[in-house]
Symmetry: C2
Subunit: 213 residues, 2 copies
């Protein structure tokens, strides 16, 4: 049996949200499972690559504000741009890993709930209180979670996850690594689907698919 | 009749090369024509957005070195990474506009020839001599072209083209504007095809297309 597909995400990315709504279905069509892996764009984009945040980049930010809702529409998923500033996913990412220590499936449900809170309901997912409340609604003990993500092991787990992701070349999200092949972006799920089915970059009408025919 | 589709390119981009091999066919399927419009990434990426060149960006450059040949394979077009450093498309972009002043179709043939010279034959397209030679092989008077691109009008035409592109929000290449809709990237031709056919971002199996089904 093949390894699960690695799906790297940060809650603050609208494209990671959009891909998160699709990735398990794409994998399932090929009898594959998905491992959700949080990273922090603040570290990969800003510290490692030395770039500024996308939404502070002239011209590109205008395009992205148009493109996020458009891509959500393409996939038929709910989406709205919140007007929130300075969202930080540190607590939510730590919570994901903390929950996943004992229940990986519950952690994935939690990830979907956090994505929805931010990108559908427009809720600021920065405060640990909000993160604990979202988890609590899924049956997680909120007080235990609060203590867990404030603990050294809770912090170190995320640091290690981000370091490991960087070690594998992850620089943005969504970023998928499937059977050794890296794919960046919510607009490349058609390539992932082809790769999982063929493990080659040609044949089977791929060029036609790429050009929409 | 609708306006032609605007296709923004810079010869130094492998993705612009790949898209340049497809864009006219996608447009033709919808009875549309294409206007090729050169821009200079050195100005849009570096000066306006304040970013460094992609290939000097840690992590991302490794991904792009893998992804360029992969995307060429997806579309079934010849491609090889040249080992050339510091390629400058200034002379080639000026020449494109200079040729296009009197013969737009010839300018497009010249653009394809320059793309092939760089991304298939691995030729440095920086020197005006090389640019003039490529144009000469297509029947352009090389001496006249050399004089044209060294003249003030020859320089100003490209400056104006780049300014106009920035004014329309173009920040990278390939960048397409079709019936008011902007699309960035060689991996989004399936979206362009859909847009040209439907002028909407849903319906007609688009979500399935996006996910490769």
């Amino acid at each position: 049996m093949r390894e699960p597909i690695d799906f790297y995400f940060d809650f603050i990315s609208p494209y990671a949200y959009i891909a998160s709504t699709q990735i398990e279905a794409v994998a399932a069509r090929h009898g594959r499972s998905v491992t959700f892996r949080p990273v922090l764009l603040g570290i990969t984009v800003m510290k490692v690559m030395g770039l500024k945040p996308l939404m502070e980049t002239p011209l590109k930010s205008d395009y992205l504000r148009h493109d996020g809702p458009r891509m959500a529409k393409v996939y038929g998923v709910p989406f709205r741009y919140h007007g929130l500033k300075g969202i930080n996913s540190l607590a939510a990412c730590r919570a994901f890993l903390w929950i996943g220590r004992t229940d990986a499936a519950l952690a994935v449900r939690f990830a979907h709930a956090v994505f929805r809170a931010l990108w559908v309901d427009g809720r600021d997912i920065t405060p640990a209180d909000t993160v604990a409340e979202i988890a609590g609604a899924l049956g997680v003990d909120a007080a235990e979670l609060r203590a867990g993500i404030a603990s050294e092991p809770g912090k170190l787990a995320l640091n290690a996850a981000v370091e490991a992701a960087i070690g594998r070349g992850v620089f943005g999200v969504p970023y998928v690594i499937a059977d050794g092949e890296p794919l960046w972006g919510a607009d490349r799920l058609w390539m992932l689907d082809h790769w999982l089915g063929h493990h080659a970059w040609d044949g089977a009408g791929l060029a036609a698919l790429a050009a929409g025919r």
